[in-house]
C-alpha cells in the first residue's frame, strides 16, 4: 500500500490483543489503533509491539511498529533506529535481514503457522551445499529446507515470534472490527482501490444487481486480478450483464491475455454471453487446450447459426495450421458439418 501512508490524520485505540511472553510465560497486551485519513475514513490498523523474542531472556526486546490493511492483512513494519532487531549472539539485523523479515510476514500461509518453535531446531543440521540423494533423505521431507528459506539466518526466534504476533489473534479481531464499520462508502472505496484483496472483498459483498453499475471497474479488476480473482468474476457476473454486446466483447477479447483456467471459464459461459463471443473466440482457436477446443466445438454444434462466415473461415484456417497441436480436431469437426 502506498498512498494510505500520506494522509493519516487520526489515530484511535480500538482493541487489545495478547501474546505469550516467552521468558515469563505470561500474556503481554498490545494495543491496536485505527488510523484514518483527513476525511475521517479508516485506512490502516497499527500497533506498537514490544516483546521478547527468545526463550531465555538474554536477547534484547524487539520494538516493532506493525501495519495491517483494513482486512487485517499485514502490509508493513517500522523499526526505530535505536531499537534495531537482533539475531543470534546479539548481532543486529542487516538490510537484507529486514527485507527477508518483510517477505516472511507477507506470507500468511507460512509454514511457521503450523510448527512449534521447537520443531524448527534441527538437532543435526545438514549443510545444504552437500545435498545429494543420501542427504536429502536425511532431512525430514521438504520441511526443514522450507523453513530455512523462510527465516532470517540466526533470527529464528525473532521471525517466529513476530510472525505469530502479526498473524494471530490481532487479525481475527480486525476482521470482526471491519464488520462493525462496514458501509456502502467503505465497500465503494474497496471496489475502486488499487488493491486486489480490497477489490475481491468488495466483489464478494456486491449484490449481483449492482454489477451493471460497476461493470467498467469490474472489467478493470478482471484485467489485473490473479487467476483466483478472474475465475471469481467469470463465475459470478450475471448472465444479463455478460450477454450485453459491449461487455461480451470486452471480456472475450481478453482471451489470449488471460490464464488458461480463466479461458476455460469464458468458454463455459459462452451460452450466457452475446453470440458475438463465438466469433471472437474463433480468432483464438490455436490458444485453446484440447478440452477447451472440444467444449468450444460442442457449443458450435449446438446451433448451426453460431457458425458465422468469419467463424467458419477461422475454423478452416486453424484446421490447416499444422503448428497447432489440435488442428486435427478441427479437421474432424469440419468434415462433419
Amino acid at each position: 500500500m502506498t498512498n494510505e501512508w500520506k494522509d493519516i490524520s487520526k489515530d484511535e485505540f480500538i482493541f487489545e490483543f495478547e501474546s505469550l511472553d516467552t521468558v515469563y510465560h505470561t500474556q503481554i497486551s498490545h494495543q491496536v489503533r485505527l488510523l484514518s485519513n483527513s476525511a475521517g475514513a479508516p485506512r490502516l490498523f497499527f500497533s506498537e509491539i514490544e516483546t521478547p523474542v527468545c526463550a531465555d531472556g538474554v536477547c534484547q526486546l524487539a520494538h516493532i511498529n506493525v501495519y495491517w490493511d483494513l482486512l487485517g492483512n499485514y502490509v508493513g513494519y517500522g523499526i526505530s533506529p535505536e531499537f534495531q532487531l537482533t539475531k543470534f549472539e546479539h548481532e543486529q539485523f542487516g538490510k537484507e535481514d529486514y527485507i527477508k523479515l518483510h517477505q516472511l510476514l507477507l506470507d500468511d500461509n507460512s509454514i511457521l503457522k503450523r510448527r512449534k518453535v521447537s520443531d524448527l531446531i534441527d538437532e543435526a543440521p545438514v549443510a545444504t551445499s552437500t545435498i545429494d540423494s543420501e542427504v536429502i533423505d536425511g532431512i525430514s521431507g521438504a520441511t526443514k529446507t522450507e523453513i530455512a528459506e523462510s527465516l532470517v539466518k540466526g533470527g529464528l526466534y525473532s521471525c517466529y515470534t513476530i510472525w505469530h504476533l502479526v498473524h494471530g489473534e490481532a487479525q481475527e479481531k480486525m476482521e470482526k472490527y471491519l464488520t462493525s464499520i462496514s458501509s456502502d462508502t467503505l465497500m465503494h472505496y474497496f471496489l475502486y482501490a488499487p488493491y486486489n484483496d480490497y477489490q475481491m472483498f468488495a466483489l464478494r459483498e456486491l449484490p449481483k444487481e449492482d454489477f451493471k453499475e460497476h461493470a467498467t471497474q469490474i472489467l478493470n479488476i478482471f484485467r489485473t486480478a490473479d487467476g483466483v480473482g478472474k475465475a471469481y468474476i467469470l463465475k459470478k457476473i450475471p448472465s444479463d450483464i455478460l450477454s450485453e454486446k459491449e461487455i461480451t466483447s470486452q471480456f472475450y477479447n481478453e482471451f489470449s491475455l488471460i490464464d488458461v483456467n480463466s479461458r476455460t471459464l469464458l468458454i463455459n459461459r459462452l451460452k450466457s454471453a452475446h453470440p458475438d463471443a463465438i466469433e471472437i473466440l474463433s480468432n483464438y482457436l490455436d490458444r485453446m487446450t484440447r478440452n477447451q477446443l472440444k467444449l468450444y466445438l460442442k457449443c458450435l454444434n449446438s446451433d448451426p447459426n453460431f457458425i458465422s462466415k468469419n467463424c467458419l473461415s477461422n475454423l478452416k484456417k486453424a484446421s490447416k495450421n499444422t503448428g497447432f497441436t489440435y488442428h486435427y480436431l478441427l479437421r474432424e469437426f469440419l468434415n462433419k458439418i
Binding site: N109, K113, R114, D132, S133, I136, D137, I139, S140, G141, A142, E175, M200, R204, D226, G227, V228, A231, Y232, K235, K236, D259, V260, N261, T264, L265, T289, R290, N291, Q292, L295, G323, T325, Y326, Y328
Partner: protein, 589 residues
C-alpha cells in the same frame, strides 16, 4: 522364447476386393519379453488397453520381443497404435521402431497427436514363426498399445479400432470371462486401504480376493509411487503396521525397504487370494447389488469373473461403484452446499459456485549424485512446460490440476504434463555447473492421485465434522492430522510454474469418521475405503492420507465379517449390529 498364445487369426472379407485377407492383432502388453519397456495400465478406461512404454528417463530401453505364429505367409501391412505424447513444433519425444524377423520396418512411430494407428511399413512373412521387436529410439516414454498386421492395405481407423467391441472381436473374447471364482469378499484396489480391508476381513475368517493392477501392493505408498504415509493408526495399529512404511521423504528410494515386507505380510494370509497385475474392468449389478466384478490380467489379457456377496471399492477412483451405478460426486461443492466456507482463504478453500478444480496428482522423482559428469539433453518438448524452472528432485508440491482436466478422464495428459515438467526442470538444472554430477535416479510413471470420484454413502463427511468435532455413534476411524487442501500456485501468481501447488491447513483436535461414510447409499453390498469414501471436497482434505484410509479399510473388513455372520447388508451392520461391530473394532487395539 515362448510363442504368444493370445493372437487370434481372423479371416475377413475385404469390401473392395472380395478376396480373403488375413489380419493379426497383438496387444503390446502381451509381449513375452518386455525388455526395458513397462506395462502401463493406468488409462485403460480412456484409451482402451494397457500399453507398453519405454520409460528410460532419457536412455533408450532394451527392446521388447515376442514371437507370434502366423498361419498365413505373405505380404503384410503393419500398423502400431501409438501417440506422440507431447505434440508440438519439435521432434516427438517418444519415437520407436518395429522390426519383424530382424527387418526394421521403414517408418518411425510415435509421431501423431492423440492415440491413433500409425503405419510402420510392409513386410513379407516367409515363415510361420515370427519375431517382433519394439526398439526405443529416445528413452523418453514412447508408447505402443497394439500392433496390427493385415494383408489388406486398408488402414484401421481410430474410430473403429479403439472400440472395445473391435478388440474383443479381434481377440476372440466372449462377453463373459470363462474363469469364475467365488469369495466371501472381493476387494478391488491394493493400496493401503485395500490391503487393510483384506487383512482385517481375512482375520475375521472371510475368504478374500484382493485384486490390484500393479505387481506390488501399497498404491501411493508403494516403491512405484513413493508417497510417504501420513495420519494415525487409530484402532488398527497392529494391522496397519504390517503394511505401513517408515516416514521416508516423498520420492525416496527408502520406499522399497518396506515394499517387500508389505507384500509378504499380505501374502501370508492363507485366505487372501492375491491377484497382482489384474485390473478390474467391469462390475455387474442387479437390483442395486453387485453380482460380479470382471478383471483382466494387465499383461496376458486373461480374464476372471469374481463373485461375492459383498465388494469393497478401494480403487481410489471409485470404479467399482461407478460401473455398478453407485451415486457419486466429483469436484468442489459450492461453499453453501455443506456450509464449508472459510473466509480467510475464500475461493481457494471452497468456491461460492462449485467447480471441478480439485486437488491435483503428483508424479514424484529423485536424483542421484555421482562422481562422474552426466549429460542431459536439451528438451524443447519439455521446455514448453518447465519454462525457466530448475530442479534436481521433486516433492509433494509437484502436482498438477487444471480446471479443464478431469483427474480420471484426462489422467494420461496430467501424467504426461508432469513428465514434461520433471524432465524440463531437470534439464534446466543440469545447465548449471553445480549439477553436472547429477543423474536422474528415478522418475515414477504412475500418477499419485489425491482426489477424484467420491462414492456417496449414507453419510457425507464434511469439514463441519472436523470443525464441530462431531463424535458419531458409529465412529470407526479417527484422525488428528490437519485438514489440508491444495491449490496450484499459478492461480495466485501467473509467473509461477503450473505444476507446483501449495497447501492450506486447518488444524484442530482429533476428529472422527462414521461407518456410514464407508458403504454405498444405493448399492446394497458395496463398501468403500480410500479417497473414494463418502465425503465432500473439503471433507476429503484431512482423511485422504494413507493411514486414515487404511483405517477405513480395516473397518470395512470387519464390517464385511459381520455382514457374513448375519447375512445382512453393510447398512444393517449400522442399523442392527452396531454395538457388536464396535466391540470387535475395540478389540483390535
Amino acid at each position: 522364447m515362448k510363442t504368444l498364445k493370445l493372437i487370434l487369426f481372423i479371416c475377413i472379407t475385404s469390401f473392395y476386393t472380395n478376396s480373403v485377407a488375413q489380419d493379426v492383432l497383438i496387444e503390446a502388453e502381451s509381449f513375452v519379453d518386455k525388455g526395458g519397456w513397462v506395462v502401463d495400465p493406468q488409462f485403460v478406461e480412456q484409451m482402451g488397453s494397457p500399453y507398453l512404454m519405454a520409460h528410460g528417463m532419457g536412455v533408450p530401453v532394451e527392446n521388447a520381443i515376442t514371437n507370434v505364429n502366423f498361419k498365413e505367409k505373405g505380404k503384410y501391412h503393419v500398423w502400431a497404435r501409438t501417440k506422440n505424447w507431447a505434440p508440438g513444433n519439435w521432434d516427438a519425444p517418444g519415437q520407436f521402431k518395429i522390426s519383424v524377423n530382424g527387418k526394421v520396418l521403414k517408418n518411425t512411430l510415435g509421431l501423431t497427436s492423440g492415440w491413433t494407428w500409425e503405419y510402420a511399413g510392409k513386410v513379407n512373412i516367409e515363415s510361420n514363426e515370427v519375431e517382433i521387436q519394439l526398439s526405443d529410439l529416445t528413452g523418453f516414454n514412447g508408447r505402443c498399445d497394439a500392433i496390427y498386421f493385415s494383408q489388406s492395405k486398408k488402414m484401421p481407423t481410430e474410430a473403429e479400432t479403439n472400440l472395445a467391441s473391435w478388440r474383443k472381436a479381434k481377440l476372440g473374447e466372449t462377453t463373459i470371462p470363462e474363469q469364475q471364482k467365488s469369495y466371501d469378499l472381493v476387494i478391488v484396489g491394493g493400496g493401503l486401504a485395500g490391503c487393510a480391508a483384506a487383512i482385517s476381513a481375512a482375520e475375521q475368517g472371510l475368504n478374500v480376493a484382493l485384486i490390484h493392477d500393479r505387481p506390488v501392493l501399497g498404491g501411493n505408498a508403494s516403491d512405484e509411487i513413493r508417497v510417504h504415509t501420513l495420519g494415525i493408526y487409530g484402532k488398527f495399529e497392529r494391522i496397519l503396521k504390517m503394511i505401513d512404511t517408515e516416514h521416508y521423504p516423498n520420492g525416496s528410494y527408502k520406499a522399497k525397504y518396506d515394499q517387500e515386507r508389505r507384500d509378504k505380510n499380505v501374502k501370508s494370509y492363507k485366505n487372501i487370494d492375491l491377484f497382482l497385475d489384474w485390473r478390474a474392468y467391469d462390475a455387474i449389478s442387479e437390483n442395486n447389488a453387485i453380482k460380479y466384478v470382471d478383471a483382466r490380467n494387465t499383461a496376458t489379457g486373461e480374464r476372471i469373473r469374481f463373485k461375492a456377496p459383498r465388494f469393497v471399492d478401494s480403487t481410489g477412483d471409485g470404479w467399482i461403484g461407478f460401473w455398478a451405478g453407485a451415486e457419486f460426486s466429483y469436484g468442489r461443492e459450492s461453499s453453501k452446499t455443506y456450509g464449508e466456507a472459510w473466509d480467510k482463504w475464500g475461493e481457494l478453500w471452497s468456491p461460492e459456485e462449485g467447480d471441478d478444480f480439485v486437488m491435483g496428482a503428483s508424479v514424484l522423482w529423485q536424483n542421484e549424485k555421482t562422481n562422474e559428469v552426466h549429460d542431459f539433453p536439451e528438451l524443447p518438448w519439455a521446455a514448453d512446460v518447465a519454462k525457466e524452472h530448475k530442479a534436481i528432485a521433486g516433492e509433494w508440491q509437484w502436482e498438477f490440476s487444471r480446471n479443464d482436466l478431469h483427474q480420471i478422464d484426462d489422467a494420461e495428459e496430467i501424467r504426461d504434463h508432469m513428465l514434461r515438467a520433471i524432465y524440463g526442470s531437470f534439464a534446466n538444472a543440469k545447465k548449471l555447473d553445480e549439477n553436472k554430477n547429477y543423474k536422474l535416479e528415478w522418475v515414477s510413471y504412475l500418477v499419485g492421485k489425491r482426489e477424484s470420484r467420491r462414492l456417496i454413502g449414507d453419510y457425507i463427511y464434511t469439514f463441519n465434522d472436523v470443525k464441530n468435532l462431531t463424535k458419531f455413534e458409529d465412529a470407526v476411524v479417527e484422525e488428528k492430522r490437519a485438514v489440508d487442501v491444495h491449490y496450484q500456485i499459478n492461480l495466485k501468481d501467473s509467473e509461477e510454474p503450473d505444476f507446483l501447488s501449495e497447501a492450506l491447513f486447518y488444524k484442530g483436535p482429533k476428529y472422527y469418521i462414521p461407518y456410514r461414510s464407508l458403504y454405498s447409499k444405493n448399492i446394497s453390498n458395496l463398501f468403500m475405503a480410500g479417497r473414494n469414501f463418502s465425503c465432500s471436497h473439503i471433507g476429503l482434505g484431512g482423511p485422504r492420507v494413507m493411514l486414515t484410509t487404511g483405517q477405513m479399510g480395516a473397518a470395512v473388513g470387519i464390517a464385511a465379517a459381520i455382514c457374513e455372520k448375519y447375512n445382512v447388508t453393510p447398512r444393517e451392520v449400522y442399523t442392527k449390529h452396531l454395538q457388536e461391530y464396535l466391540e470387535v473394532i475395540e478389540k483390535q487395539q
